[in-house]
Structure formats: structure tokens, C-alpha cells
């Protein structure tokens, strides 16, 4: 039983990490329908800048904050230079953002070097707590707490605030929301920047958890984010959280009991969901490109 609980806690922590990576993409891809394959690059830049500033300033929280700022700036550049000319055209979005992903990855090597970099964990988040035979690793508990807070904030803002209503309405009918006096282009730029900041935050929090970072990590984990958004249902924050937890648990349990399956379990979940619920677990209907 203790083993099961330990695995479940690890699975939840992994799920929360995946949710942190996917949460920004839920806004950009899920809500705005922009196929931003550069999202993984923003995640990697968040990881690198988080580690860089943490080591430079000897302050973990400042590192996180500056990683978010990096994400906001890169998000603005990505939206303005890369995505803005290709809104509404998925093929062009795939091509240009994939290209930009490569640019972001290579730029990491130019700025930080091509080698793997160690990512330290602050002392107060190292080690673990023991409750009976159950081990709770402090950093994983921290990730679970951050993931939950992020979920509550994102869900509440989108569900109950005027800004959230405007974003949801703008996604459903861009023309109508403009005719009601809303500058939807400005709103979408802000959403894109927030989504990018979340990717960078995900990267900065992921780095200490994995212990090391490398330039190609963006490509690897960016795909994870897309899968989670698709499984969860386009534009659904609860859907993304549930999908991330599902993927995290499945990965952890299969890695222990059937290691050979752990590589394909995420794809299998997506396959099953797409066969039986093509709209994803939670569907936000009415999304159009009008």
C-alpha cells in the first residue's frame, strides 16, 4: 500500500509538472487555436534563464521571476514577428513556429553553450519528509502546490473575471467582440504573452526537478504539452489539469510495473481519448475563427 501511495504522489507531482508546461499552451493553442510549436523553446528558455539568474543572484525566487520576464519578452517577440502574420493559417503556423523553435534552441547553445548545465535546487526545498513509510520529496510537494495555485488562478480568471470573459468571447467570435468595443488584437497579444510566461515558469520550475537542462529539452517536452491539451480538450483548463495528471500517473505507474510501456503510454492515452472522445475530456464548444 505504501508503494502505491508513493507512486501516486510521484505521479501527481509529475502530472503537475506536465500541467505547468501545458498550461501556457492551453491558452495559446487551446483557446486561441495557434499551433505554436515554439512553445517548447519558450519552456527551455525559461529553464535556462531561471537557472542562470538563480546562480547569478543566488536567489531562487528572483530566478523564477526573471524567467517569467524572459518568457513575456520572448512571447511578445514570437507573437509580433512570427505568429501575427499567420493567424488563422495552421499550415503556416506549424512551419514558421517549428523554424522559430529551431532558432530558439540554437540560440540557447550560442548564449549558454552546447553542454548540459546543472540545475540546483534551493536548500530549503531539498530532501524529503517521511510520514510512516510514505516518502514525500519536498520539491515535488512544492511543484504540486504551485501547480494547484496556478490552476485555481487560471481557472478563476478565465471563468469569473471580465478579462476572462472577454478572452472566451473573443475566441468564440472575434468579429462580435470587436463590435462590442473590445480591441481583441491587444487582448490576444496579452494572452500570448501570458501563455509564454507560463511556459517559461514551467521551465524554471522543471529545471531543479530534473537536475540538469539541455537545449533540446524544449523539443522533447513541447510535444508533451500538445498531447495534454488535445487529451484535455481544446481550451479547457480543468481538462488540461486532468490530462496532465492522467499522463503523469500513467507514466509513473507503467515505469515501475511495465517499464517497456512507459515510453508509449502517453501516446496510447491520446489514441484512446481521440477514438472515444475526439473533442477531448472537457470540450469548450463554440470555438471559431470568425
Amino acid at each position: 500500500m505504501e508503494l502505491f501511495i508513493n507512486l501516486a504522489i510521484n505521479g501527481v507531482a509529475m502530472g503537475m509538472l506536465i500541467f505547468l508546461i501545458a498550461s501556457g499552451l492551453t491558452l495559446i493553442f487551446g483557446l486561441m487555436s495557434v499551433l505554436n510549436f515554439a512553445h517548447g523553446g519558450l519552456f527551455a528558455w525559461g529553464a535556462y534563464s531561471g537557472v542562470f539568474f538563480y546562480v547569478l543572484l543566488d536567489n531562487f525566487w528572483l530566478g523564477i521571476l526573471l524567467a517569467i520576464v524572459t518568457g513575456i519578452l520572448l512571447g511578445w517577440i514570437t507573437e509580433f514577428l512570427i505568429v501575427r502574420p499567420v493567424y488563422g493559417n495552421h499550415i503556416r503556423q506549424i512551419l514558421i513556429t517549428l523554424g522559430f523553435m529551431l532558432v530558439l534552441t540554437e540560440m540557447l547553445k550560442v548564449v549558454f553553450g552546447p553542454n548540459i548545465i546543472n540545475a540546483p535546487t534551493p536548500e530549503y526545498l531539498q530532501g524529503s519528509w517521511m510520514i510512516g513509510d510514505i516518502t514525500i520529496i519536498k520539491y515535488r510537494a512544492f511543484i504540486i502546490a504551485v501547480g494547484l495555485i496556478l490552476f485555481i488562478v487560471m481557472y478563476s480568471v478565465l471563468r469569473y473575471s471580465k478579462v476572462g470573459l472577454v478572452v472566451r468571447a473573443g475566441v468564440m467570435n472575434k468579429e462580435m467582440i470587436q463590435a462590442l468595443g473590445v480591441n481583441i488584437k491587444k487582448v490576444f497579444v496579452i494572452v500570448f504573452m501570458v501563455g509564454s510566461a507560463l511556459a517559461a515558469l514551467g521551465g524554471a520550475l522543471f529545471a531543479p526537478s530534473s537536475g540538469a537542462i539541455y537545449a533540446e529539452m524544449g523539443m522533447e517536452f513541447g510535444i508533451f504539452a500538445f498531447i495534454v491539451v488535445i487529451i484535455g480538450g481544446m481550451g479547457s483548463i480543468p481538462g488540461s489539469l486532468l490530462a496532465a495528471l492522467l499522463v503523469g500517473m500513467a507514466n509513473t505507474f507503467t515505469a515501475y510495473y511495465v517499464p517497456i510501456l512507459s515510453m508509449v503510454v502517453t501516446m496510447l492515452i491520446m489514441l484512446v481519448v481521440l477514438i472515444f472522445r475526439p473533442q477531448g475530456l472537457f470540450n469548450v464548444s463554440g470555438v471559431s475563427n470568425k
Binding site: K162, N173, E175, M176, Q178, G181, N183, V284, G286
Partner: protein
Amino acid sequence: MSQQPLLNLEKVNTHIDQFHILQNVNFTVKKGELTLLLGRNGAGKTTTLRTIIGLNPPTKGRVMFNGEDISAIPPYKIAKKGIGYVPEDQGIFYDLTVGENMRVAMMKEDDATQKRLESSLELFPDLKKFWKKPGGQLSGGQKQMLSIARAFVNETDLLLIDEPSKGLAPVIVEKVIEAIEKIKEHTTVVLVEQNFYMAKRLGDRFYILDDGLSVHEGYMNELDENEELKRKYLGIG
């Protein structure tokens, strides 16, 4: 009633992709009047409204509102100048509740807006009843009421309404007519309508569009008596 034009379209041309939809359309709306845009399907009535609100900006000519050229202004700025728009498809945000649809439309959250919200709900009591129901689950008539109420909730000098009777049962059409009659007391209205009974009940003046050209204008009582005009351009009689 002031005769100063509130809206003036001067030789307006609008293209949608390669199609030349509006061709030198001249169109004047006086304050306090309900002006009808009539014509057969494809005549350019909806495009005229979309050109005024900026969703299909003119390629040539000018749209003057309150003496200001709004031809090159984005739709959200035009809306803020006091033009409300009720599109043909009602433009309801399906996943948002009735309350959220109203809230998202409110440009300000001051007392005056709150008062107008209350007036809108008095005009359409059904909306209050279905306040928490998603917009996508409303009937056609309720969607139309929500769309009109949403446009009316802000301080508007001009309300553009596109075919509000389309697809509605006669009893609902009557309700919509009564609502527009009340709205007309406060706001200038441009109404696109194919239902001649509704047009006759509500309209002060009319313009007839044909193939993107404004071919006739006048007062509604004149049109009602002109059988040839009705037959030629509106297919009535």
C-alpha cells in the same frame, strides 16, 4: 426632431476579396429616425452595416458619423463612438451565459450602464429568467432578444440591426417589433429587414439597395403606396 445627419455614407465602395459589393452607395441617417435598408438577397444590405461598423471597411468613399470620418477606424473604436451592432446571426457567445453575454458587452460598469441593463431586462423579461443559461441553449427568439439587449446596454447614438425577424415565429416577431419601437424612442436605428410588415410598422425612411447600388430613397408611407417599386426591388405584390 433634429434634421442634422447622424450618419452619412458618401460614395462608399466596399470589396470583399475580389468582389465589388457596394458601388458608390450614398446613404444618410437623420437623428431620431428609424431608417430601413431594403432590397433583395445579395443587394448589399448586410455589407452596408458591416461597412459602417468597420468589419468590412470601405475601399473608397467616406463613412461620416457625427461629423467625423470613421472609414479607417477599427471596429472596436467605432463601437466606442456610440454605434451598436446586432448582426444577422445574432453573434451570441454560445458558451457564455446570458448574464455573461451582457456583462462582456458592458463597456463601463457605472450607474448609467447598470440602469440601461435594467431597462434592457424590462424590455426582454425572458433574459432575466434565463440569466444563467448558456447563450447556445436559447431559442432563436431569445437569442435575438439577447443580441438586441446586448447592443442596447451601452450608450448608443446609433443602433444597426440586421434582419431581426429572420427565422422567428410571428408571435416572437411581434415582441421584437414592440422592443424596437421602445428602443427607437431613445436611439437612432438603421434596420435591415426583409419582412415588409415589420418594415412598415417601424420605418420612418427607407433606402433600397440593388446590386450594391442605392437605387431609391424616401418615406415609408410613399413606399407602401408604390406597388411598382415594391414589386421591382422587393418582390412584393
